[in-house]
Symmetry: C2
């Protein structure tokens, strides 16, 4: 299977969650236009995404919900799962840790890191907090390949460097600092202030 576009991967993740809801409600089959409506996109886009992952149905009665969940899992999950860590366990870090609790997924948050001695060695939102100084050692020990960066902006760059040196393969950066990492590390950045400013701009434009 060729590498799929990022946008398609994002939608597949959303399809899966929606499908799991459908399954919980006892729905066994779903039409492309039903799934599209639940996601506020078009049915063609759903069908095209599903085409890209090589799944198809013989029936004209929609996709088999269970099957499709399984096939999406084969595309976006790894067989043996991946370990992740949250770097900086403030409000945002806790929010993410809490989101993950109880979600049965191939991704596991196995450690958090902080400099605050009041947090170190405690279990926070279900995950053990280690001192920042042990970052490299624990990433290697626990085979952590993904880091979720929620430290204050001024620490983002040095911490990212440490992460890369320690062998991290992917970083999800929630700090407001744009990072510059070597191209063999996958980097995804998201900034809440930017999103909010974008909403504000379009609110202004709509009412102009």
């Amino acid at each position: 299977m060729n590498t799929l576009p990022g946008k398609t991967i994002g939608r597949l993740s959303e399809y899966r969650r929606t499908l799991l809801n459908c399954l919980a409600q006892g729905k066994t089959h779903i039409y492309s236009h039903e799934l599209a409506n639940l996601q506020n996109i078009t049915a063609v886009q759903v069908r095209r995404d599903i085409m890209l992952i090589g799944y198809s149905t013989t029936l004209k009665k929609g996709y088999d919900v269970k099957d499709l969940i399984k096939v999406i899992g084969e595309i976006i999950d790894t067989d043996d799962g991946l370990n992740a860590a949250i770097i900086g366990i403030g409000n945002l870090g806790r929010a993410i840790a809490t989101y993950f609790k109880g979600k049965r997924t191939k991704l596991k948050i196995v450690a958090t890191f902080d400099t605050d001695s009041g947090k170190i060695n405690r279990v926070i939102s279900g995950v053990k907090c280690y001192p920042m100084s042990d970052l490299s050692a624990i990433i290697k020990d626990q085979n952590i390949s993904i880091a979720i960066l929620t430290v204050p902006p001024e620490y983002a760059s040095p911490v990212a460097e440490t992460l890369v040196m320690a062998g991290i393969k992917g970083i999800l950066n929630y700090t407001s600092t744009a990072l510059n990492v070597s191209s063999n590390v996958y980097l995804e950045e998201y900034d809440m202030i930017t999103s909010l400013e974008k909403v504000a701009y379009f609110v202004k434009e709509k009412n102009a």
Copy 2:
């Protein structure tokens, strides 16, 4: 000025923050390639974005940092500012409120809402928390036009409906529920689990 693409608006917001940092460091002028490097994008993209907002410099010594900050502000800010509210003040809500504290921007978070009686009427992360039952009234009273939705997923849809009825103009949805709002309300959705799954997928692909 025509409405600009969302991607450009996102980048303008980031340029501004970077430029404010530069200004704080005493930098008065910046070349397109410098700004591009700080943002990990290309210089052409920077120049094109700046072209789109109608700014240009006569000097070949880069853009005047102060001027450019001002011009970006004229594009993305409203003259009189906009008020926002956080709906659901859990960890994520608090993270956002805290991010905003001390940021001088035309956007103000003026209220938060929750159902937890232990939170109601307290000031949390610098913002007063009101009971969810007062949502409509306070949105109208305080002229709130943007809602940041950080409630549990099962409440997302009914709360969004209330928000729209109360006259909200833009919603930034951080819940995992895809919303369906009338087209005169601007909706921006972001889901952390999806982002993390995307990172996991590309980590897997890079190492395949």
